[in-house]
Symmetry: C2
Subunit: 146 residues, 2 copies
DNA sequence: CCAATTACCTACTGTGTCAATAGGTTATAA
DNA sequence: TTATAACCTATTGACACAGTAGGTAATTGG
C-alpha cells in the first residue's frame, strides 16, 4: 500500500506545478487547496526539500517551489524517497543482508518478477504525465497514453 | 509489501503440493521443513481452512491436505484471502465509502492503472507455476515461462 | 480402550509504523 | 519591527505485524 507520505508528496508536486506563478508558494495555500493538515504536510515537505525535490525559502514572501521541470520528476523516485524501496518483500528491499533461503527459494522469482513490473511502471511515469495542463507544451515525449 | 501471512500461506501450499503422498500432512512437518514457527503457522493455516484453501483433519494420523489441483489455486486469490485487497490505495480498496475527491482526483488514474497491473499479474499466476515438479505432468497449460 | 497425536481455540504481548498534533525557534521581507 | 513563513523536536493514539502461551476437542495407532 502506498501511504499518505508518498501520495501527499505527489499531490504537493502537482499543486506546485499547476499553480506556478514564478513566486514561492506558501505551504498554507497548498494545504488549503489540497485539504491536508498543514502541520502534517510540514513533515512531508521537509523530507522533500532534503531529498532535492523542492526548494524552500523562509520569511515573508517565502514558500516552496519546484526545482526541476515537471518532466524531470520521476514518480517512482518520489515514492521511494518518501516511503523507501518499492520492493514487495523484505528480501528484495535490503540487498545488504540477503535471505539465506534465497538460493533455492521457489517463491523468489514470483516476487522478483512483480518487483520488476512495479519498478518499471512507476519509473516510466513522470509528474508531467499527471498534470491536467501538461508541463511544457510541445516538449512532452510520451503524449498519447489512453 | 506482502506480509508473512500471504508469503507463508503460499509456502504451505507449495510444501503440501510437493510432499503429497495421499495422506494428511501434520503441521509439525511443514513447520520444520519451512523453518517457520509452528504456533504462528497455526493461525495462518486456520484462515486457509476457513477460506477453503485446505482441509484439516484432527487426531492421530491427521493433518492438512490440498482440496484442489495445484492448477486451480490462483495466487492472487490466496494473497487477497490472507491480506485483504491488493489495491495500492485505500480509495480503491473499499468501494463502499468512496473518496469524495475521486471525481476530479488527478492521481487516481495512476493508482487505478497500477491496481489493474497488480491484479492481472497475481491472478495470472497459479500454484502449479511455482512448483519445481509442475502439478499434473502433461496437463499443464502454460509450460514454458522464461 | 486409552494415550499419544493432531487440529482447533482464545487471549496476550512487544515492536513498529502511520497519521497526525503541539509548541517552539529561526529566517526574511513588506 | 512585526507579521509571515519555513524549520525543528517531541509526543500521541490507533493499528497492524509477528509472533507466544496455554488450553480444549477430536481421532486413531498400539
Amino acid at each position: 500500500m502506498i501511504s499518505t507520505r508518498g501520495r501527499y508528496a505527489i499531490r504537493v508536486l502537482i499543486d506546485l506545478a499547476e499553480h506556478d506563478n514564478g513566486r514561492a508558494i506558501p505551504l498554507k495555500d497548498i494545504a488549503a487547496r489540497q485539504d491536508i493538515s498543514k502541520k502534517y504536510l510540514e513533515i512531508i515537505v521537509k523530507d522533500m526539500v532534503a531529498g532535492g525535490l523542492l526548494t524552500g525559502t523562509s520569511g515573508r514572501g517565502g514558500g516552496y517551489r519546484l526545482c526541476r521541470s515537471p518532466r524531470d520528476y520521476v514518480i517512482g523516485e518520489v515514492i521511494e524517497l518518501m516511503e523507501g524501496p518499492l520492493a514487495p518483500v523484505a528480501c528484495l528491499a535490503d540487498c545488504d543482508n540477503p535471505c539465506p533461503r534465497a538460493a533455492d527459494c521457489v517463491t523468489l522469482p514470483l516476487w522478483s518478477e512483480y518487483d520488476r513490473l512495479t519498478h518499471d511502471f512507476f519509473y516510466s511515469k513522470r509528474l508531467s504525465d499527471l498534470l491536467r495542463r501538461n508541463g511544457e507544451p510541445g516538449q512532452s515525449v510520451n503524449k498519447a497514453v489512453e
